[in-house]
């Protein structure tokens, strides 16, 4: 420590004390953001009475009731009727019987989840695909009014998307796009594509044209050069852009609430409406939320190396 204090000022190595302070701040911030997530995760394993106990219970007997309730619909029965059914056949039958109920069928959570997957990944793919082509075009070709067009594309993000909810609602009703996968995919793509164009253009700009010119001289077409030379070098940028797009589409609540109700409803508007006995079924809501987080976490972890390079926007890439 004493050897360190007399060292000349270094830009590459922080002093021990500033490292400690930085570490403490990061841990503090992580705690603040992680506590709600941890609480949701724990609530998913509480019984309904435990979940609304006051003062809140930190230590409790874990139960899978929330998850069972999330995936099933149940009805209350008289003890005599339950008696007549004989012993429960499965562990979840048993869990439900303890509350004097029987399972009457699956809930719609699974369908909502599939809707979220299709709409989230579908719109992300489309936004990144279109964004990549547009970014390449803007970066490489002489486009008339290029700067104005780019500004116009960016300007679509200057207001909250929900500001146009009513016109979109009316338009979708006319076009028959309400409550359809296609409608939601188009909507989220439209919102995300501006972000995608701008992010990706930065990445394309950084790839020297000489790469493509070298490929063209070597006998490749421009499109082949794009596929073989440009695209692989955009990987980090595409991964980062895809994550941003996916997070928006996955978490979007307001439009989903407004435009979907039945067949194409995504998970966000569905989860808060899970009703149990005597109000909201908090363990089921928490269980639904926990499962809802999994794809994003998975996708982010999968792409974390690309993401780290991507989020620096190529600043340190050589």
């Amino acid at each position: 420590m004493t050897a360190n204090t007399n060292k000349a000022f270094s830009v590459s190595e922080a002093s021990g004390r500033s490292k400690a302070i930085a570490g403490a701040l990061v841990i503090l911030y992580a705690l603040v953001t992680m506590i709600p997530l941890a609480w949701i995760f724990l609530t998913g394993f509480k019984s309904p009475p435990d979940s609304i106990a006051y003062p809140p219970k930190v230590v409790f007997t874990p139960s899978l009731e929330g998850y069972v309730n999330l995936f099933t619909t149940r009805s209350r029965q008289t003890p005599e009727y339950l008696e007549s059914l004989g012993p429960p056949r499965t562990w979840y039958d048993k869990l439900v019987r303890e509350r004097n109920m029987v399972i009457t069928g699956p809930s719609r959570y699974k369908d909502r989840y599939v809707n979220s997957l299709v709409i989230g990944f579908g719109s992300t793919f489309l936004a990144v695909f279109l964004g990549t082509l547009a970014a390449y075009g803007f970066s490489r070709f002489k486009v008339p009014l290029k700067d104005d067009l780019l500004f116009f594309i960016l300007s679509t993000r200057m207001m909250p998307p929900i500001a146009v909810a009513i016109p979109i609602y009316l338009m979708y009703r006319q076009l028959g796009l309400s409550d359809t996968w296609l409608g939601m995919i188009l909507l989220y793509t439209a919102v995300n594509v501006s972000l995608a164009v701008w992010l990706l253009k930065g990445f394309v700009d950084e790839i020297p044209r000489e790469y493509e010119e070298a490929a063209v001289i070597d006998g490749y077409s421009r499109f082949q050069a794009f596929i073989k030379v440009v695209l692989p070098q955009m990987r980090a940028g595409i991964a980062a852009t895809a994550i941003f797009c996916l997070i928006f589409a996955w978490n979007e609540y307001a439009f989903a609430l407004l435009l979907t109700s039945g067949t194409a409803q995504t998970a966000p508007p569905f989860i808060p409406q899970i009703i149990g006995e005597g109000g909201l079924d908090w363990p089921a809501v928490a269980a639904g939320t926990t499962l809802f987080l999994v794809p994003i976490v998975f996708f982010t972890v999968l792409l974390r190396n690309q993401l780290l390079r991507g989020i620096t926007f190529g600043a340190v890439r050589k």
């Binding site: 020297p208 000489e210 063209v216 001289i217 070597d218 006998g219 490749y220």
Partner: protein
């Protein structure tokens, strides 16, 4: 290998003529270097030859066939860029194989492998074939990118300052290597640089470019001794030719139009009783030789000397010019052919 012929090429970008009525012939197996400062149109000339740009006027012939308007691939030329020529997501092998894997070529993988290994052996890179391009040193990268030009035996090589991103020592060894490869293959090369040393050592002929115009083409020695203009004179030689007003030297018998005279630093002699008196203002020792900066009146003059001369800064000295080596230029900087009367 084939010859390259550029005929009256013209290319403008907005109001600027990057290449202006340029004609040049590079014979089969010849190494021609275009020399000029930044913005003289060197790179544009190369890109016109490659087909990366289309000329506004003029024509390009490769091997006697007109290729103006054809795509780069159809011209079958190889281009070595100043930088960025290796694909970072590929290994050295894949980089070298890239031109051979082009869709039109349809080489079997076995043939590609043996060709790549052959070239790698020539460049002394066999042991690095499986390295990623990003794991190479600067010199190795440039060797690979030259190798990538060599693999497919093109009609002609176009090289855009391929050595300028290397450090001085590496540049020197690559220069020797490049010349050797060119001799071995009998390659036709059009090479662009702003480094006169590269031009002098590599070229069979040098073309001096100025503002998009080719002002002089010739063997290095020829241009060095007989430059057509002040500009051409000062592009070759280090330190560059001294350009002085004739009246400062009191020279008789000059052509009346002579507005400037040029004298190479090695053609100035020190000492003697009849010379012009000057003061030694600077001394640069270069090992075997030395450059002295002399000041007289309002003028300055560089003299190249061998290192045995004992000079001090501030010393008074006399100098004389080798009259036979004086070159006269008019007020536009053009050569006046009449030699000074003896």
């Amino acid at each position: 290998m084939s010859e390259l012929r550029l005929e009256n090429l013209r290319k403008t970008f907005g109001a600027i003529a990057a290449v202006d009525d340029l004609s040049l012939r590079v014979a089969d197996g010849e190494f021609v270097v275009l020399l000029g400062p930044t913005g003289a149109g060197k790179t544009t000339t190369l890109r016109l030859a490659a087909g990366l740009e289309n000329p506004d006027a003029g024509a390009v012939f490769i091997g006697g066939r007109e290729v103006t308007g054809l795509t780069p691939a159809e011209r079958d030329v190889a281009f070595v860029f100043q930088q960025y020529s290796l694909y970072p997501h590929y290994t050295v092998f894949d980089n070298l194989a890239f031109p051979l894997r082009a869709p039109g070529r349809k080489w079997p993988e076995e043939r590609i492998r043996s060709r790549v290994e052959e070239i790698a052996a020539m460049l002394d890179m066999e042991h690095k074939l499986q390295n990623r391009a990003t794991q190479l040193s600067g010199g190795e990268m440039q060797r690979v990118s030259i190798g990538r030009a060599l693999v497919r035996a093109p009609n002609l090589f176009l090289m855009d300052e391929p050595l300028s991103s290397l450090d001085a020592k590496l540049r020197e060894s690559m220069r020797v290597e490049l010349k050797r490869i060119q001799r071995d293959l009998g390659a036709t090369i059009l090479y662009v640089t702003h480094d006169q040393l590269e031009a002098m050592t590599l070229a069979d002929r040098i073309g001096i470019l100025e503002d998009g115009k080719l002002v002089q083409v010739g063997a290095p020695r020829e241009i060095y001794e007989n430059p057509v203009s002040v500009h051409a004179a000062r592009r070759l030689g280090s330190p560059p030719m001294n350009i002085l007003p004739p009246q400062a030297l009191g020279l008789p018998d000059l052509p009346p139009a002579a507005a400037q005279i040029g004298i190479r630093p090695e053609d100035v002699e020190l000492g003697g009783d009849s010379g012009i008196v000057a003061r030694v203002e600077s001394l640069e020792h270069l090992g075997a030789s030395m450059v002295a900066g002399l000041g007289f009146g309002n003028e300055r003059l560089h003299v190249l000397l061998d290192d045995s001369q004992r000079l001090r800064r501030g010393q008074q000295i006399t100098f004389t010019l080798n009259r036979e080596k004086i070159i006269c230029f008019d007020s536009q900087g053009r050569r006046i052919d009449a030699p000074p009367a003896a």
